[in-house]
């Protein structure tokens, strides 16, 4: 009964250290690549001025009507991934009644080579989560994307599994979820996306003016070490990169250096 008073055992101390190391992800630093969004201004949104490749990113549309915008943003992120890392990308999609399917010629135009995409058509959510987890176990891959408009099994545990796997292998995971998705998940980054109408003011004389550049309103809902906020970010299919569409309107900029970031890009 006198055990209470004794000093903490060295084993416990060691375990505590390990746990904190795992939480920081430093044990598996070797697999981690820092991804750039292609624009220094957009990079600054994220801690360490980049997106860690070994993270689980959730992309949510802001509303039902914004689902194609969310798909677009997820595809833009995938395009960045494919641009910076070798290997194929696995696209997991349920045999969806909504039937929003990838269109290969359009992907090529968007900046993604369809040859590098392996598309899985999956019957149920359980298999989809299994397929994603398996993909995250294969460091040869560039990334894996899951489309889950209706979720029942995807919860904290499931997302934690994906996140840990991603951390081990350095393969990026993207999860497209419904705008109604709620509940806590272990995603490293969560983005809410809505499309923005073409920014220029329409000229008066034209009845229906032409369509402008692709711009999304990205709201950063969750990201450790970064401030939440929303940004208007455009997609440039010629350079396959994001860019900040307009100045940060009246918002405080991020502090120059975040304390917990050993890596920084210069210039």
């Amino acid at each position: 009964m006198s055990r209470k008073k004794t000093m903490p055992s060295p084993v416990v101390e060691k375990l505590k250290k390990q746990i904190s190391a795992i939480e920081k992800g430093s044990l598996v630093e070797k697999n981690n690549i820092f991804l750039s969004t292609g624009s220094h201004e957009v990079d600054r949104i994220f801690p360490a001025n980049s997106i860690e490749s070994s993270s689980l990113i959730e992309v949510l549309p802001e509303s039902y009507r914004q689902r194609s915008a969310a798909m677009g943003a997820a595809l833009a992120l995938s395009a960045r991934l494919l641009h910076q890392k070798p290997g194929p990308l696995i696209w997991c999609q349920l045999r969806d009644p909504e039937r929003l399917h990838l269109h290969a010629p359009g992907l090529m135009a968007f900046g993604i080579d369809p040859q590098r995409i392996v598309k899985l058509t999956i019957k149920n959510e359980q298999d989809l989560l299994w397929a994603m987890e398996e993909a995250l176990d294969c460091p040869y891959l560039c990334g894996v994307v899951g489309v889950l408009w209706k979720e029942k099994l995807y919860n904290f545990t499931a997302s934690r599994r994906l996140s840990l796997r991603a951390r081990e292998s350095g393969v990026s995971a993207l999860m497209l979820r419904s705008h109604r998705a709620n509940g806590t998940t272990a995603a490293d980054i969560r983005l809410s996306v809505s499309a923005k109408i073409s920014s220029e003011m329409p000229p008066r004389k034209v009845f229906l003016p032409r369509i402008g550049k692709t711009i999304w309103n990205l709201e950063l809902k969750k990201c450790r070490g970064a401030r939440s906020g929303s940004w208007q970010i455009g997609w440039n299919h010629e350079t396959v990169s994001f860019d900040l569409a307009s100045q940060l309107a009246g918002r405080a900029p991020l502090p120059e250096s975040t304390a917990s970031s050993p890596h920084r890009y210069t210039g």
Binding site: Q66, L75, L100, A104, P105, M108, P139, S194, I211, T214
Partner: protein, 450 residues
Amino acid sequence: MKTFEYDPAEDQADLDKLTLWTIRYSPWVAADPPDGIIIDISGCAHLLGGEELLSKDIHIRLSRFGFNARIGIADTIGAAWAMSRFGNARTKIIKYDKTETALERLPIAALRIEQKTIKRLTRVGLKTIGILNHKPRAPLAARYGKGLVDRLDQVMGRKPESLSPIAEPPDYRTHQKFVEPILTLEQITLSLDQLTISMADMLECAGLGARQFILCLYRVDGNVKWIKVRTSTLSNEASHIIRLLTEKLAALGESYDIGFGIEQIILGAYHTEIMSHHQIGLGGKKENGSAREFQALIDRYGNRLGFNNVGKFLPRESHIPERSEQLISISEKGVKPHNWKNFLDNLQGGSHLGRPILLLPIPEPITAIAEVPDGPPVHFEWRRLKYRIIRAEGPERLAPEWWHLMPEADELTRDYFRVEDTEGGRFWLFRQGLYEYEKTPTWFMHGFFA
């Protein structure tokens, strides 16, 4: 005693089932309706300690199922057939040089010939195979047909006879028998490891790889369960095959009724081909290690989700959007490398964002209000939601492919528009038909831009 109505179809089905069960003795088996099974035991008998023990084993097991079997073992199919039906014992084994003498005393009915021929032969006193065998062949053939002589030659082994097996025999196979029937799938997984390793060794020694593996589980009551796994490339890697099979077994899980246990498992390798060896790099690490890992991943996807559901994109020569791409199974062989960039340039010329990232495989009709004759819509309703358009580009006209001579009447000219609604959604709509020709052209929703 119980009586049942005679049901030939049911009998045949049961015979097929039993034939599949006999694959445990040899991979080369065939059903011989109405009441026989032919097993080619060449090279298999020693596995059970010789022909006597083999036939004993068959007797014991079949009697447990409630069958009373007669077995004939001989050099030729014909002789074995005759011995099982006309031999004077439950088991009759003819040594390789005794075929002729053993058959001499048997009636000619043992020759598998027509009833009519038997009658005619009996009438002239040709009652046994021995007598028939010594008669001159030409007159026999002339009088009773070539079939008789053929059958005689087949029985004596002068003419080859082959049997078409009920299931394709594996190129390589390993098996394991259990003294006590196994009652859990976990235990099977354990012995599966050994079985697969010895299979992989065999393949490795032969320099071969296989594309398909089948694991057969033999239940005590005669039920046989086949578990198939496929690989997209040639494989002889034990760990990979074990993983594929274990996953299948796990998926089988609760739905499989193990009954009173499993007494034997057989692993067969199919479609083997010569496999080039993987070079081991100087560092000791296998080259293409991770690429092979990727192949292994694809195999596991294929076996769990079906290879048809693991797809890759290929361009297709067509201007009609839904026909301009195809998603084919990743295991498809002989696919030429293709250049998507050139394809896209051909497809839509200079404008590079004229194709959407998402497409409805079948365009969905919408109700639209548009400017006549060729303006973009101003309002439209799709899936019960209303959209108001504030920006538009188009039309891009795609004429039907007249050279295909599609019989469908709805092959009309399409005018595609890219439009943007008040919430920033960007759609690809088209009008099918022209106001000049059709009374009411219809509008369709087809794709989505980012």
